[in-house]
């Protein structure tokens, strides 16, 4: 069957998406395991020791992928939130809800591994530099979005309020990205860019990119898994209940503020 014959709109309903997500998850998880395994091998056994930073530079293989994921996931979360607001689509809000914790986790890891790298190379765990500060703000944004949602009992209001907060906060992402250029920062510039040739050895770049792909696959797998949790928590399809009637579902939807 060709891709054109699949009715994609079918999967925009949570009930249809639930099994699809379940089927996709193991593939993403397997790809994540494989890529991270290869990335670690390349990072520790193939990439050479850096002539300036010694082996401390190897932190790059988790630090840069985590930092990139923290920004990518924020943009994707904000896009789903925006789509939810524009189309009044509950599943879009649920996707945004599913992404937030993973984004927060990677932001935390970017900051932590950054401190681990800063201490031996700069002599300080933390400096109030533009890059570090804007990334810390990103962590607060994720936490704010999660807490704002958790603080509201009315799911419909929670969806909309957290979506607006996510959308407004997206301005911070370009600030983080360009901070090393706009301000005179202690943090080094981009290691890899689309326009210039990489400043690192090819094996180092390869290891870093493989790790990043692995983190992407991990994020897809864990977000789909969380999406499934959210679908069960919010939708409670009748077939999962012992003797659930259509009325129960209608009631549950009314309580959850769903359309």
């Amino acid at each position: 069957m060709g891709i054109a014959h699949i009715n994609w709109f079918k999967y925009s309903s949570p009930q249809a998406f639930y099994p699809l997500a379940g089927r996709m998850m193991p593939w993403f998880a397997a790809a994540a395991l494989g890529l991270i395994g290869v990335g670690l091998y390349l990072g520790f056994f193939v990439a050479p020791t850096d002539f300036q930073q010694g082996d401390a530079y190897r932190i790059i293989f988790v630090h840069v992928p985590a930092a990139w994921m923290s920004m990518f996931l924020y943009v994707i979360m904000a896009a789903w939130a925006g789509l939810g607001l524009g189309l009044q689509a509950r599943p879009s809000f649920m996707m945004a809800q599913a992404i937030a914790p993973t984004g927060a986790l990677f932001t935390f890891l970017a900051l932590l591994t950054g401190a681990m790298w800063g201490k031996p190379t700069w002599g300080a765990w933390w400096v109030w530099d533009a890059r570090l500060t804007s990334e810390l703000i990103l962590l607060f944004q994720y936490i704010g979005i999660i807490l704002l949602r958790a603080s509201m009992d009315d799911l419909r209001r929670a969806d909309r309020a957290s979506a607006v907060l996510a959308l407004v906060g997206v301005v911070n992402v370009p600030i983080i990205y360009f901070s090393v250029r706009w301000w005179n920062t202690l943090h080094q510039g981009a290691s890899v860019s689309m326009t210039a040739s990489p400043k690192m050895a090819a094996t180092m770049v390869t290891a870093m990119l493989v790790m990043m792909l692995g983190f992407w696959m991990y994020s897809c797998a864990v977000t789909l898994a969380r999406m499934r949790c959210i679908i069960v928590e919010r939708e409670r399809p009748p077939s999962w209940g012992k003797q659930a009637a259509t009325q129960d579902v209608a009631e549950a939807r009314e309580c959850s503020g769903g359309v």
Binding site: A56, Y218, G241
Partner: protein, 52 residues
């Protein structure tokens, strides 16, 4: 490969503490997240069976 021995590998040229804390924390967080989502799913399905 640049490591002469296992000790050398763990020492990471004197940066072992920083390198292994970074990788260890990352691994711990990712495994922890997977377990948390798994438990959340089990709890959600159980509740939807009981509560529906």
């Amino acid at each position: 490969m640049q490591w002469g021995s296992l000790t050398e590998f763990f020492a990471m040229g004197g940066y072992g503490l920083y390198v292994w804390t970074s990788f260890g924390a990352t691994a711990l967080c990712m495994v922890g997240e997977v377990l948390a989502v798994w438990r959340r799913h089990v709890a959600a399905v159980a509740e939807s069976r009981d509560g529906a």
